[in-house]
Amino acid sequence: MNKLYEKYIKTESLPTLFCPGCGNGIIQFAAANAMDELGIKDDIACVSGIGCSSWIPCYYKMDVMHTMHGRALAFAEGLKLARPDKKIMVFTGDGDCLAIGGNHLLHAASRNIDLTVIMVNNYIYGMTGGQKSPSTPKGAITKTSPFGCIDEPINGCRLVMSLGASYVARWTTAHPVQLAKSIKDGLMHRGFSFIEVLSQCPVQAGKSIYGEKDPAKIMRLYKENTYLYKEGKTRIEGKIPIGVFRNDDGAEEYIEKTEARLREQGIERTESWSVSQ
């Protein structure tokens, strides 16, 4: 077994419940890598919702909350406000985050509260067996769009950027090094960090969405069909931009804003905020 994996994973719970070739494991490893480089595992807690991707943190040897479908961000906001001195990493999927949890995403992003959200986008509801998700491409055949998906897919990155999230990035499972660096930067960033990861689902999305069932080949498609975003660079039609879209260190974070307002008003707190009871 991998040394790093052994250090971060509850080995007694293995094997993971992910299908062979699932991208979740790669993201799990990248996040472990990021935490290891920062060396602050004990100051991080993970919160996740429901879905395949929400099982990612459940194998970590750390404080984990595996919550309700779509509500991971609400739980994480409560936890963050209770312990503003700690880092919270949220694992969520495209259905979890953009469909049922869409409202929480809007508000968490506009608050710019210090959370690191890793949205695993596999274009499908994998755990329930391959139904259409909010990010399923137009025309894709799924179990619930048998004649082709008609909905315009939701672009999570663009959505949170429009609301004021201060760190926004998109990578794929074919970019594990860049992904790990983004997670690291997201954790260190004070503000709402949103990292979308395009991740293969060879079993449920496989043929119908990527036209390919082999995980390695889907990852090659990710490399071929994406281009690195740089400010000012022209868009390439038909390809997905990846990279860091925004990294604004100047944006005010929610808890900072709260503290600043209290100071401004001359309100003295009777107890320290961050100290646990």
Partner: protein, 400 residues
Amino acid sequence: MERRSLRKKELVLQGNEACAKGAIYAGCRFFAGYPITPSTEIIEMMSAEMQKSGGAFIQMEDEIGSACAIIGARWGGKKAMTATSGPGYTLMQEAIGFAAVTETPIVIVNVQRGGPSTGQPTLSSQQDIYQARYGSHGDYEIIVLTPSSVQEMFDFTVRAFELAEQFRTPVIVLADEVVGHMREKIAVEGGSKIIESVKHQYVVSPQADFFQGKNTMVEGQLHDEQGRRIGHLAKRSGEFINDINRKISDNTDIIASIDTYFMEDADVAIVAYGSVARPSLNAVKLARGVKDGRIASKLRIVKDLFRKGVQETLHTDYSHLKVGLVKINTVWPFPEKLLKEAAKNADIIIVPEMNVGKYFREIERVFKDKAVISMPKCGGDIHTPKEILDKILEEAGINE
């Protein structure tokens, strides 16, 4: 209901304000909420008080988020509460089930209004009595307290935090618009009460708060002691469900609380909870001929009856009527033992409630040998003492 004399500070407060004060006194340091009539005063007061006291306040995007945020905050080590009303309480149900299965001690205040749906935003009801017990899916037990006065809004909120921490379970304070909005003089203690945070006495899967290096695993799926999922294992899941239910049902004696008034020799017992216990007590006092400073004496009732045209009742003396009241403070878990003991000598039991007669079914189940009479009232008005007295007279065969 009766005024306490040992307390230090006397205040005139609204029920909702007393609830917020009680929470702060009990050490609540996190409040997430969403405004909804008739509970809004609680979130308003908490928005200022939480931030001043060193806690945190957040107005969430909906009630689902509010219920989830307080669970998150509780695992972060802060005692947490939210307050809502009818439709908002419905939205919180999934989170209540989550808190029950993950054994998260949280307090949820439901200031009931008329339903279903948008229903009656400004009027009172007790229609959520079953939703409070059975609202979330699956089998779980829950603790529900029903305050009937402003003093009890304070006291029961404090008690709710105690019970939540003791049994590691969500506790519901099921108030209603009447108690939420009434103003009364109450006595409160200053400072704050220290409530022991973690007692593992009654916990099925003990988990430490976050950031203590204990690798806490909070799992919504049925889980073992380490928080690992066992939802796919039938036998162990069955044991888990039994354990999580029995930690409350087996300890009903510790949790349950009732108050009795004039029950020593009562032939007719009124069983009431929440705000309806107030007119019920007045009715009992009127029947017993007990003078009450604030409410009309027996004479006024007699005048009322006279106006109604029942002239002969003018000369009727009710003082021989042996009527008592059992006020239920913890509607769930159902205080069966206490209730059976309190009303064992009564022949007739009247259950007034501001719904179609729901809790009546529970009481009827317990007293198979007695005449249990439902006295429902829907529409938003609370029962008047006279209505209850009339019912007593009718059932006692006096006013025919």
